[in-house]
């Protein structure tokens, strides 16, 4: 079953002029005609450098943004007309420190968001304990959020997104600020989710992460989808060449000798 479908989706950000004072409109075409289909339980990597449209793609699924052209459908629901129903199905793991209530403890933050996510009061406590154990934050459950480390924020962001047991989980550079061991742990969590049937979108600029964790990888460049392949194909050496782009006025012999044909 297809969980998420993009059909020729475009997203343009316009900086509008202020009446007659500024006539021109600056435009950024963040997503250019992306079409893709993702199945239930699949882990799709969105791989690309900064400004390639990874976060915009995630925001389009979460309904934080609506497409200008084309259609995004989540479990058959168009994000334009069924925003509320889509939001019930999608969890967006936002790990920014500023997205939590700093004076509340880890547990209090999750309890608050659980209520907003329609989790019944008698189930909240169990659900919070369960996600905290799952992301290994149970030991800091009583700590005020402002005292957490960056790695803990990442895990708390995932816990918050998982509190509603979403069908689709969106992760935006989840291993940023994690050490190697914590990143490995996170990758195991993602694979566990996939086994449970959760569809995961993982935006990253880390090639190793994309190919190690994902079933398929979508390569984005300046808002365009330039390749969509199984992860093992991406691991092949030739696809890494997408990243090799050198511009130079002149090249020394010494450098030329060092570059393979």
């Amino acid at each position: 079953m297809n969980t998420v479908v993009f059909e020729s989706v475009h997203k343009v950000f316009r900086q509008r002029g202020f009446f007659f004072l500024q006539k021109s409109e600056a435009e950024t075409h963040a997503v250019k005609g992306i079409s893709l289909t993702v199945s239930a339980g699949e882990v799709l990597g969105l791989l690309g450098p900064n400004g390639s449209g990874k976060s915009t793609t995630l925001k389009l699924i979460s309904t934080m943004l609506l497409p200008d052209r084309g259609e995004v459908r989540v479990q058959g629901l168009d994000t334009r007309g069924h925003g509320q129903e889509v939001r019930r199905r999608v969890g967006f793991a936002v790990a920014s420190e500023r997205s939590f209530f700093p004076r509340l403890t880890v547990r209090e933050n999750l309890e608050f968001f659980a209520a907003l996510e329609n989790v019944r009061r008698r189930e909240v406590s169990d659900r919070v304990e369960s996600v905290l154990s799952w992301v290994s934050l149970i030991n800091v459950a009583g700590k005020q959020v402002m005292k957490l480390s960056s790695g803990m924020y990442q895990r708390l962001g995932i816990a918050r997104a998982m509190i509603k047991e979403p069908a689709i989980l969106l992760l935006d550079e989840p291993s940023r600020s994690l050490d190697a061991a914590a990143a490995d742990e996170l990758w195991s969590l993602i694979q566990e989710l996939s086994v449970r049937g959760t569809t995961v979108f993982l935006a990253t600029h880390n090639f190793e992460e994309a190919t190690a964790v994902c079933d398929r990888v979508a390569l984005l460049k300046q808002g365009e989808l330039i390749a969509l392949e199984k992860a093992e194909n991406f691991a092949a050496q030739e696809l890494r060449d997408f990243y090799l782009e050198i511009t130079a006025d002149s090249v020394s012999d010494k450098f030329r000798m060092g570059v393979p044909a």
Binding site: L65, V94, S99
Partner: protein
Amino acid sequence: MIIDKIIAVIKKDAITALRYRNGFVISSLSQIAQLATFYYLARAVGPQFRPEGMPYFLFLLIGTGFYTFLLAGTHNFLKTIQESQQTGTLEVLLTTATPAAVLVSLGALSAFGEDLLQLAVYISAGVFLFAPALHMSVIACLLAFVFSILSAFAVGLFAAGLQISIHKGSAVLWVLGSGAWLMSGTLFPVEALPKPVQMVAYVIPFTHSLTAMRLGMLGGSLAAVARELGILAVFALILVPTGIMFFSWMVRQARQNGTLSFY
């Protein structure tokens, strides 16, 4: 489900307020200072000035106390959006399963509790000092209170929508609030204003809120307040659905333009 959400929001705000105790102490002190100001202002004006047939201090207490409560209620909607824009929680809140209009209303409702406490202090001061002069109709006062809150709720949603859209909702609310403060009969009767300004005053719902509350506290019967209550009910009927639609439309526009997290 909505009850669970109300409890969660109130709990979150209460814990946050307790952990920022200083703000609560400062606001209590400012309220005492305001009461003292009204008392000495009324003394300076003298006992011969009895607007709408009541002592001036009582007129000020009801007018300013109730007006401040309604304006604060309106401002709470704006504050809910502003704070979540500043702290960075707005985008996350708006990706939850709770509709945006419900979210902002819950935030404002929680702050209403604190304002209600302030209003209770004003009313207690009035009852304590002027008990013999009061012929209160509890039903009239309650109805005036409910209809006024509904109007404040709607105006609050307009302000919150403007905050999402142009990020300057507080400036708009300040201009409207100052205008309404001047015209709605908080400090002096509306009849003291020039005729054209009086006409503007009568299309401000808060003008009728203050009149209804004063009549309800002194008039002693529901019939005496019926006309004002009718006007307030019409305001509520028109403004509440319009406010919800306006706010929801502004949020949708922000999702379309990608400006949800802008501040």
